[in-house]
């Protein structure tokens, strides 16, 4: 009987020892992680200056349609009549006719302001983030149209499935308090 209780207490001792060491190692892991912890949360965002408009944002997002949308930085826009982001390069006419539009979903609305200026407005519900207009605007215009991850749509996956396949590594984690890289902002920021 005495022998039995001895083995019991020995087992208890081992158990307590292991528990203490597990707790210690958990503490060590959390303390060393805490040393570089960030109180802010992270979200994913595209760096428009790195983006090469490959078109994967439209196809690789876990959401369908993608949480990546074209964002129009009006500050940079030239309000051109002949818009490289709106019209196909070989468009028949500078009009809103469907066959002239570059956007596959007709998500860009063209509004006349005054001769010869037009405002281009992105209809977010229609935009699929294919970056066709971004490529057009970037190669022929000011580059005011660019892709951004829209955070009211994005589900903030632990690892962005677009970032994994982005050929130019343009998508990275940014602080949630500075969740967008809007191109227009860069004009005021000399450090950029």
């Amino acid at each position: 009987m005495e022998n039995n209780s001895k083995s019991q207490s020995r087992r208890k001792f081992i158990r307590n020892g292991v528990r203490a060491s597990l707790l210690l190692s958990l503490g060590a892991v959390s303390v060393s992680a805490l040393r570089k912890v960030s109180g802010d949360d992270y979200v994913w965002q595209i760096d428009p200056f790195k983006c090469t408009q490959c078109g994967r944002c439209a196809t690789e997002c876990v959401l369908n349609p993608s949480a990546v949308k074209c964002l129009h930085a009006f500050d940079l826009c030239g309000y051109c009549d002949l818009c490289g982001g709106y019209l196909k390069p070989d468009a028949n006419a500078q009009s809103t006719a469907a066959e002239n539009q570059l956007c596959p979903t007709a998500a860009i609305e063209r509004r006349f302001i005054e001769e010869p200026y037009f405002e281009y407005h992105i209809n977010e519900d229609l935009c699929i983030g294919c970056a066709k207009c971004v490529a057009g605007c970037t190669s022929f215009g000011n580059g005011s149209m660019h892709l951004q991850i829209m955070h009211h749509i994005c589900v903030n996956c632990n690892e962005c499935s677009i970032a994994r396949v982005c050929p130019s590594d343009a998508i990275s984690r940014v602080k949630a308090s500075e969740a967008y890289n809007v191109k227009g902002d860069f004009t005021n920021n000399s450090e950029a």
Partner: protein
Amino acid sequence: MRNQLNQNKNQNCFGLRIPDIRHKLKYLLFTFAFFLFTFNLSAQKQRFPKPEFDTGYTQPTPVTPEPRALAMEYFDVLVLLLVLAAATYFALKSRSRQGILWLSVFTLVYFGFYRNGCICSIGAIQNVTLTFFDPAYAISLTALLFFVIPLVVTLFFGRTFCAGACPLGAIQDLVVVKPISLPKWLNKTLGLIPYLYLSLAVLFAATGTDFIICRYDPFVGIFRMDAKFLMIVLGIAFLLMGMFVARPYCRFLCPYGVLLSWMSRFSSRHLTITPSKCIQCKLCTHSCPFDAIDFPTNEKEVVKSGLGPKRFITYALVIPLWIALGVFVGAKSHTFLSKANQDVYLAELLIAHPELRNDPDNIDVQTFLASGKPMEQLVSEATAIREKFYIGSMIAGGFMGLVIGMTLLNTVVFRKRQDYEPHKGNCFSCARCVDYCPVEK
């Protein structure tokens, strides 16, 4: 921008041997800036300046909706704490299966369908790993808390997290219809997969390659009601399988379950089947859908066979061999595993198929070529990553060897048990057995 300019300055320095190099540099800088503004689209000047409108047009500002508020993320941590506390209370104190059941419904709705299965403790393993291996990455406090809190609670009260606070567990627990009991050898063998999954997940996260736990989460597509076809099929397959083989993901895949099971084995308190003394009625034995109830041991039989100590020593001596085998397999497989890394893949592709440089449809290759990054740099980066994979997969292989050796050793360890008890490592504290026990307090 400034960095770019400086770099350019340095590059242009090499060709010049004139005393007033400063002036030349200034000139070069201006030329460069001119080119930059004209051709480089990241420049801050516009090709077509913004017009001045006469009609009083006001320019709209781009809409940038804010992400989910940080306070809400901390609210999630609070909900996790509350749910864990409730699950622990229901499992250990009030011993109520009903309570756990409704709690898992809540978890499924909140963490599953409302929070879309993200943030979750299982995936947080990778964030913690990446924090240690990527100097540029700092884990967010919420992710760290989601990783640590369930482990600490499990260390004291058993796996109550699995019972009520994990949305993946909840969705599987609710579809259990007619669980079948798997043979012990199959249970043990399949039970090795989580260790492999964990070591691969840590390996891929540490090398900055991929978050495989999140990418192959079978239920996240169901929570979001939207996913790739294959993932939806996988999720539904898991649920259908889960009707008969209860909680297949938890038992045979979940990498976080490995850590929880370590904690739970040494927990100070744990769910008990009976509130007082076991009367050996065996009613509970059929209640557990997870084969997690250990039967009383038959001491006579073990003693009679006389194989116990001999086998134990043999199996213990074989463990180093298992580890060596694991290291060997890991070292052999590191080339294959490293292919999952995009950089390594691209470098290998370009070396093996140089003709792809002329393929306009290969986006990766074309982007790489257009970026102007030299091939040597890509190769050296890929080599560095492969080196990490070499070490990492040897460690992972050694770990797997140790796990296999220990699992085998455990099969010959004789533990005295007089009553029907839950297996502390495997029990999910779902409290089904509690319902079956006729003993009153």
